[in-house]
């Protein structure tokens, strides 16, 4: 089920009343109780973003939110997400799942990473395709990714992708501390990361133990792994903002609203379409099953709605689209060097 996202950018008192999140907004007090006091069922909340230094939240409230598997995100003075709070026990067979995850063999992890990189490159290719930018090489790279991506096709694809995806006049250089629109990307990714981490916890996995990322300072390695194929969805939102010519030098409310809308973006799987937040649950639960050894593929979304907006006029586009679709459904564990771990 799709849960609600609450974003607090004004002073607020948050407390618990009858299992409901009671919100008191002092800056609206002059408008009367109806405006300044709200109540939201805790069980409907998925993500709560605290983006103001003058928010007071009670302990009962934090505990109830975590009990409900909600992610609490705090922001620093420059209004960027700094921290995340997640429940310790998000799943009933958690200990068993942790064990499977910790015991996962190296080949399995490498294969999972191969699938992740493939899905990511294909989705990046889809973004380029949408913008009429050549992406045949991306599709080729996606096809060539081997177990564990030893040839670093991910990096190669990313370099090409970032060089070409933004309009030429922007002179874009992707970097964490880089100039706008890097700030939009970072904001979107931070929210996406929170959604992914929440999904992982709900599926009884440790978001800390990654399959590829292993930075010892990173607390959310697995979230960073699993969110890779989802990043292009954020990129598309950011590109939309730039295309519409909005002022993206600062993170205004309109831009934040669009970026926070990432939770409801439609994602396509082989058989179904669902909002990103719901689709992510199937990705994380398939990952848990991969660790368990019951299935071999992670369910990643495929961006195949390429020509919905523009109408399919070009033959080569049709061909490319079919390649993209076949790629994702057929590739996988066929290469001889991949010893199956189970």
């Amino acid at each position: 089920m799709i849960k609600r996202t609450l974003h607090f950018s004004n002073p607020a008192y948050l407390s618990l009343h009858q299992n409901q999140l009671a919100i008191d907004l002092p800056h609206l007090k002059s408008l009367g109780e109806k405006e300044s006091k709200k109540s939201i069922p805790i069980e409907d909340i998925g993500i709560i973003i605290l983006d103001n230094q003058q928010i007071t939240i009670t302990h009962g409230c934090i505990a109830a939110l975590l009990d409900n598997n909600a992610a609490i995100i705090t922001c620093n003075q420059s209004r960027h997400p700094t921290g995340m709070m997640l429940p310790i026990d998000g799943h009933n067979t958690q200990s068993e799942r942790f064990r499977y995850q910790i015991d996962a063999s190296q080949p399995l992890k490498k294969q999972l990473w191969q699938q992740t990189v493939q899905a990511k490159i294909l989705n990046q290719a889809a973004v380029l395709f949408n913008r009429n930018i050549a992406c045949e090489n991306m599709v080729y790279w996606a096809k060539s990714v081997r177990s564990g991506d030893p040839d670093n096709y991910e990096g190669r694809a990313a370099a090409y992708y970032w060089k070409n995806v933004f309009p030429k006049k922007l002179d874009f250089f992707r970097g964490r501390e880089g100039d706008p629109p890097n700030n939009l990307l970072n904001y979107g990714y931070a929210i996406l990361r929170a959604i992914v981490a929440r999904g992982l916890v709900c599926s009884g996995l440790l978001p800390t133990l990654g399959i590829h990322h292993r930075n010892k300072y990173n607390a959310y390695c697995l979230a960073d792994d699993i969110m890779e194929p989802y990043r292009p969805y954020v990129d598309e939102i950011v590109l939309g903002i730039i295309d519409r010519g909005e002022n993206f030098l600062e993170l205004g409310t309109s831009i934040k609203t669009q970026l926070l809308g990432i939770a409801t973006v439609d994602v396509q799987f082989e058989k179904s379409t669902s909002p990103l937040m719901v689709g992510l649950q199937s990705t994380t639960s398939s990952l848990a099953k991969c660790y368990e050894g019951t299935i071999r593929r992670i369910t990643y979304p495929i961006m195949t709605n390429f020509d919905n907006k523009r109408g399919s006029t070009y033959k080569d586009k049709e061909v490319l689209k079919s390649i993209l679709i076949n790629e994702i459904t057929e590739s996988g564990f066929t290469k001889p060097e991949d010893e199956l771990p189970f």
């Binding site: 799709i2 607020a12 299992n19 709200k38 939201i40 069922p41 939770a263």
Partner: protein, 109 residues
């Protein structure tokens, strides 16, 4: 769109519970409180409503209300789509009033 006014449901719970004896009053108060705890908000005296983002979600809450039903008294449970709910005309005295806002998936405070 996935979240639209035809999929979103509002559950209305209306009840008449006996309040003759002290015991009955406590039962009625408890029912009301439990309904509130489930996320319903008072619309009018003894009419409570809740916003549900999908049919499945609504089923969960209907089931919960059914579990809370007291021994005696009349309780009605009804669901309407957000579209139907939005067409309701609401008056305080003769003055027309706006309907309660539909909660959004994303809310900025």
């Amino acid at each position: 769109m996935r979240l639209n006014e035809y999929r979103i449901l509002w559950i209305l719970v209306f009840f008449d519970l006996p309040t003759e004896t002290k015991k009955e009053r406590s039962v009625a108060a408890k029912f009301r409180k439990e309904v509130l705890r489930d996320g319903f908000a008072m619309f009018q005296f003894s009419i409570y409503l809740r916003h549900c983002s999908s049919r499945e979600n609504a089923d969960v809450h209907i089931k919960r209300v059914k579990k809370l039903l007291p021994e005696k008294g009349h309780v009605g449970i009804m669901t309407v789509t957000d579209k139907q709910f939005g067409m309701m005309e609401l008056f305080y005295g003769k003055k027309e009033k706006e309907l309660p806002d539909t909660p959004q998936q994303l809310e900025l405070f």
